[in-house]
Symmetry: C2
Subunit: 179 residues, 2 copies
């Protein structure tokens, strides 16, 4: 699928069919995350594929009771190691969040290219998830997403977005507007 | 360009021609960032296009003296507002980093689709950049990237990456390996 079609038709999907995901499609989606760039190529990401039905149900109350996440054959829990590479006086350890977000972006876009739906879940109880999935001390959850085939209409209505004139400046913050 | 070709040939480009960027290409690249998803659709991102030659030179020492960033017609400084929407007990304010990273990922991939090079810069002095570009208190820099046409060979040798077996688990951390 054309790149611009992928990014312009990706949607947050909140209703899914239980249909299984072909192994080859899953491999392409995970590989898209694998090849993402990261600071100093540290690749701090780990992906837990939650497939067990009971475990999926246990995720729901830890993610603000968003029950649709248990509808898919796989829920992906994206984690990152807090490796201590100092990437600037502001970022510190938190640059791990940027790296894992890049990989999950690759993953969600590849899913769209495969006709699969995803939904970034940013509301979660990190501590409880770590306990449930036996995630070690120096690793934290960055995001979750269900992965599965959308039910009903999907990849259709775009979300509202600010125009470029509100988000792009030239040479300084709130400098000359871009368009 | 095909989606998988874009993600598999994107590279961190560290040598550039000074050639100008056609307005339509720049618009498509910025629009790719604009349509990115974000938590609660807050769109916390702002992009400063640094075009002024002296200002570009002034960025170099604030970014670990990576002088190639001043070679391009435009350096993009991606910022995020620390809007206080609580997205989980771990993330807190830092979810802004994830949102801006998603948008910059869209931007860098769209640049590749346009034949333009980028390079994620994560080493920077946030405080000094904020002063230089008049960025307000509640906004911070998340990443920078030069944007321009690569000089010499580009989009060729892939970086080394861990195999899926090292980064994907099933049902628990360090559970069954994926492949």
């Amino acid at each position: 699928m054309d790149f611009y079609e992928v990014i312009s038709t990706r949607r947050s999907i909140r209703s899914y069919k239980p249909d299984p995901i072909p192994e080859e499609a899953l491999n392409r989606v995970l590989d898209a995350a694998r090849i993402a760039p990261s600071g100093s190529n540290r690749q701090p990401w780990k992906f837990i594929l939650v497939k067990d039905d009971q475990l999926k149900k246990n995720l729901v109350p830890l993610c603000g009771n968003q029950s649709f996440i248990a509808e898919t054959p796989i829920v992906i829990v994206a984690c990152g190691r807090n490796i201590h590479y100092d990437r600037g006086k502001y970022m510190g350890d938190m640059s791990m969040l940027v790296d894992v977000a890049i990989a999950v972006t690759h993953l969600t876009l590849a899913a769209r290219a495969e006709g699969l739906g995803t939904c970034w879940i940013g509301m979660f109880d990190n501590k409880a998830l770590k306990e449930l999935l036996q995630i070690p001390e120096d690793v934290n959850v960055v995001a979750l997403t269900p992965l599965g085939y959308p039910k009903g209409k999907a990849f259709t209505e775009p979300g509202a977005r600010k125009p470029l004139s509100e988000i792009v400046y030239v040479d300084r913050y709130e400098g000359k507007s871009f368009s």
